[in-house]
Symmetry: C3
Subunit: 494 residues, 3 copies
């Protein structure tokens, strides 16, 4: 019977964490709920399921350090004693928020930002600010070459007689396309009165809204959106730790991390056995709470052993464990030093981490020593379940694949450069775009789709994706297609 009772209580803990009595909410939040329970019932119900609704920051602070979910050393007086509800976030730092409006006696803003979250989670907010993802907007939009790519992808091509022209993409299209993941620039463009159930009310008009992109520019001047992964309004750590969250932006052929994970042994174990895992425990114990890693285990979370030894420290500066940037631009390379990659210039003064022939802009990239340190941090995670021999064998292959995929891109690029020289296509030297013509798009797929896919497949051992799905088969075919085009087009001009 002892066992029955034990498993019963365990069941309650595992499956009904939300049934515990909630913490008391503030008077302000209670006032919000008076209307919004009816107006936005799904939002409110999700929040009720959240830890924010159930635990006060004061209680949270009392936990042993390793188990703590907030990183502030101390808290504003008004926050410690009740739950974190509507008012606690949406009226925080009102003076900084250009989207603040008077709303039934409160100074309310729409867009809760990392700086708001930093009230209780300052370490995470600071780390995330140094994470390349928080700069995703500027890294795309402040880089002339990448911005040109968005133009030729998102612009509307119009046929007039026998000419094709590109109309620049609208903000609506950019927001619906690249910026959906990279983040929009959310700006207050005015206010607008609207009839509500409480009479006419004034609301801010926001350009670039809605958006939950990782590098969103917020009306308070901050960058990023915690709710990209910690989805509002439940803010569940379980959800952030599950790979589906990452899949929102990392499944397509350019960055197929999730697609690869799905066909990896790790993904298979997660999918088959993960239903019994504990995704809520802090710290997260390898082998006990989970028996195969999700994205978060390797890239973000504080992971410990049953004996309490730290396998990896928590980091929201996710590149901390990444010696290589395997997303090829146009080659895989040592990770950039600064999260702001728009500052990079290669020796040809192009805003690229390497030249078109693969020479790194070394002063902007981490050096071999830093790479080795990051490699060791990541390998430490691998060693939670694997032997040194296993890890060494795996890494040797992975880094070999980085090299060979770079070589395959170089071969395609070499042909493309001959074509540009030959004026069979119009490249940068001719004042043209790198990726607007059909043959240039074929070339771009070599690195953006096939090189990247092959490297991600190697990195996470989802070979089935990297051979035929979008990998080596297509790398090989891409070169032969460019080659045929060269023979029929470029060679004929010579």
């Amino acid at each position: 019977m002892g066992r029955v009772i034990f498993s019963f209580c365990l069941f309650s803990v595992l499956f009904f964490p939300t049934l515990s009595h909630g913490a008391e909410m503030s008077a302000a939040t209670a006032q919000c709920l008076d209307c919004h329970s009816g107006i936005s019932p799904g939002m409110v119900s999700a929040w009720k399921l959240s830890r924010h609704a159930r635990v006060t920051p004061g209680e949270a602070l009392k936990k042993p350090e390793r188990e703590r979910r907030i990183s502030a050393a101390s808290l504003p007086n008004d926050l410690a004693g009740h739950s974190i509800g509507c008012a606690e976030c949406h009226t925080r730092n009102p003076e900084k928020h250009k989207d603040t409006v008077e709303h039934n006696g409160f100074q309310v803003h729409v867009v809760v930002s990392p700086e708001d979250c930093a009230t209780c989670h300052p370490v995470e907010a600071k780390q995330y600010g140094q994470n390349i993802m928080s700069h995703a907007y500027g890294n795309l939009m402040n880089n002339a070459l990448y911005r040109d790519m968005t133009r030729v992808i998102n612009g509307v091509q119009v046929l007039t007689g026998k000419q094709i022209t590109i109309r620049p993409p609208t903000p609506e299209t950019e927001a619906d396309s690249c910026l959906s993941c990279h983040g929009t620039k959310v700006e207050v463009t005015g206010t607008k009165a609207r009839e509500t159930s409480m009479g006419e009310m004034e609301f801010p008009v926001l350009a670039g809204w809605p958006n939950m992109g990782v590098g969103r520019l917020n009306p308070d001047g901050s960058k990023g959106s915690c709710s990209s992964c910690h989805t509002w309004h439940q803010f569940s750590i379980e959800m952030a730790r599950k790979p589906h969250t990452c899949s929102q932006c990392h499944k397509g052929p350019d960055v197929p991390a999730y697609a690869v994970y799905q066909v990896s042994k790790h993904g298979n174990i997660h999918e088959s056995m993960g239903k019994t895992w504990n995704f809520e425990a802090v710290p997260w114990t390898v082998g006990k709470d989970f028996t195969a890693p999700t994205c978060a285990s390797c890239h973000v979370s504080l992971v410990v052993t049953e004996g309490g030894e730290v396998v990896a420290e928590r980091s929201h500066r996710m590149n901390d464990r990444l010696p290589w940037r395997i997303f090829g631009l146009i080659y895989a390379h040592a990770h950039p030093k600064s999260p702001d990659t728009s500052i990079i210039r290669n020796k040809n003064d192009q805003p690229l981490p390497l030249t078109l022939t693969g020479e790194p802009a070394a002063q902007f990239l981490i050096d071999a020593g830093e790479q080795q340190q990051r490699r060791q941090v990541m390998q430490q995670v691998c060693m939670g379940c694997h032997t040194q021999k296993w890890v060494d064998g795996y890494w040797a292959r992975f880094e070999h694949t980085i090299q060979t995929t770079n070589e395959m891109t170089l071969t395609s690029t070499g042909m493309m450069m001959q074509a540009w020289d030959n004026k069979a296509a119009t490249g940068l030297a001719q004042g043209g775009s790198l990726t607007d013509e059909a043959i240039e798009k074929t070339w771009a797929e070599q690195w953006l789709f096939f090189g990247n896919s092959t490297r991600f497949s190697s990195a996470m051992q989802g070979a089935d994706y990297g051979v035929f799905a979008n990998g080596r088969w297509y790398m090989a075919k891409n070169i032969q297609e460019l080659w045929d085009w060269m023979k029929s087009t470029v060679r004929r001009k010579e």
Copy 2:
């Protein structure tokens, strides 16, 4: 301890609904089971798990209206008092069913149809009959242009010497391909004796069987198959509400609804948190029973708030909430008025909802007023969790994307029309097919794959799918590939 008992009972209710005592079955069904428990054990076991096996229609009728799962005002006397088993469905309306045969003293038919289900579910059957899906067979097969597409997709191409000819597709291939989802025409072609464990027995021979397509033509003259979504023999509402059901026909690049949903925030929440949701409750309470929508929440189900307010009425005429048909033929357009789209003729007398240059066949499509009404019904669902500002911002982008994807199709079509005029390809005006040649297939992918994918990605906010997976990148490339072909082929003839 109170909480323990509470969570315990909740557990029982949530996880073991099937342990309640079943309703008593009819004598006829009992006789069926005598043999079929042994002959078709999986079928019988699935049925035992069903609500049909556990609740009598009489009990079902006594529920408050909002909680009721049957829509008949009254029931045939023979049905009210026992469970709905084999005999109740497979011997219903025997005179209407051409597939009825004498079978051990019963008049049994194989194919249970929406008209059979209408005995208890008449409102749903009627609504579904007005749903475009119930006409999926005729909408494809009675439209000369679409049928020609099935010919060039499913026909066997044969090389004889230096000529390629197309052999028309066989019924087997059509059933294995397009009609698998659209539905086959199920016809009795004779009867056949077969040796069984009970001696030789006579069975109907059915052409087009098996099939569970949404627009199946049934031997009783009705259209559709309830078991497309309410899978036999468990008929679980849980299953119909889960997105996997829709994925059977809505994952490919032509209608990638599920693929998009998977990389949307909604899909992510469902995948990460859905294991604790209640997929069986009627009505379905937003925030309490689920915290993010599945396909059914937005398109079909009766959704209410915790306060009991109706967010959306149940509708099996699923287009009720759709102002636009974003499946481009060849452009996205206002939804057709009639579920039978084979009646549509554009101003060029083609069976298309728009001309090839995008002019709508307005008299066959809903008008702006009806669009606005449907838009409001759908937005009401969005507002279950989102603010008006959020919804407005989202819809502005979505409708902008409908427009720009139509423009991108127009550009491709413009080139194709020049090619047809120029006889570089053989189009309708030359008595040819729209989609049999390689270049025409390239063009068709612009609207059928890339335009559709981009629109679905916008509609359900799965941008990762719509940029590189099958969306804007390919729309842009498609135009440039057609352009290169124009230069090498059409322009050379001029």
Copy 3:
């Protein structure tokens, strides 16, 4: 209350099988764990969750035959009385293992092989040795034509001036690509000392490690890796029975079994309802333990009815239920007789099961009688849930699709043969590769991607995948693209 207690106990049984007291471990294993609990915590924790840790072989042998999970008639004395831990597997058959090293007084080997597992599971090991999958390494690498394909896929293509050459693939690349699934050749190449927490220790150096491919060549001379499906160190039957396991190697466009399953009704039922199924029961009862098949139900498992009748016997020689090999090489064909397909020679002395024009190498393939027997075994599984009429209708379509997809490949191949004859491409007769040129890769996709995908879609009724995702649309387009190329290239030479 009785029901409450019942469901409660059922809950305990279903969700906490691992809470039962473990079996006692051997002294040797205890010694392993002294260090490895700290060094490899994830590995040890996974093992603790395994049946190996909880049940002794002696107990396992006492079960009724149908419920038994081990197939040995008797056991070595040292194994019967305690759990199967580290030492029991990693010190088994030390004399046979070239990877055996002295390790703290034990003769330990790294690579546990099917021959080690055969100690308790001899029937499964023997069957698997006759399964084509156990020969996956040699079937690829000992076939000159297939090996040439790996060369043109995995080799690095280098541009030198205006020439492209292929550098042969390295072992690292092969292991990271094809051999990841097919299995590597794991060989001891020496030993190496490494500093450990217990001082310097000697370890074997293994080429081809890590790997879990199905046809791995092991250092003890055996073939295969049980942990491909029975993932170390939990060795869960649940996991092996879930389709995600198969997806690791069967999702790509060449063998899209899992991708098809996902959009099939079976996959939909599994995904929607499978959370309540019992994946651990032996034998596995159709309708009771599961209501729709996974890969294992149809291809491997011992399946019985609630009445105890055997639907299908367990077989790890998985081709036992397969009349056809639908993986086209280059046409679908009767299954090979021998699991070693590298011995096959067609009448043109090519190592292919058919000629390029589709004539079977009949003496190497099973005959119609054997096909019929296998068909019946598989149909018996279908009949667990479906009627004879249903199964007949399904099979007629499926075998029709085998024929029509073969015809579509023949059409593409016919054009390719004209091109080879015409020297527009360099084929086997000209001493060239079948698949190195762009147009040959286009042709190869006809059978490797589109023909295969269409057949898998038909076999498992996931039509949505087989029409537009990678199926009939592309088969039809492939022919037209080859045709255009013929017109512009081959015809011009004539």
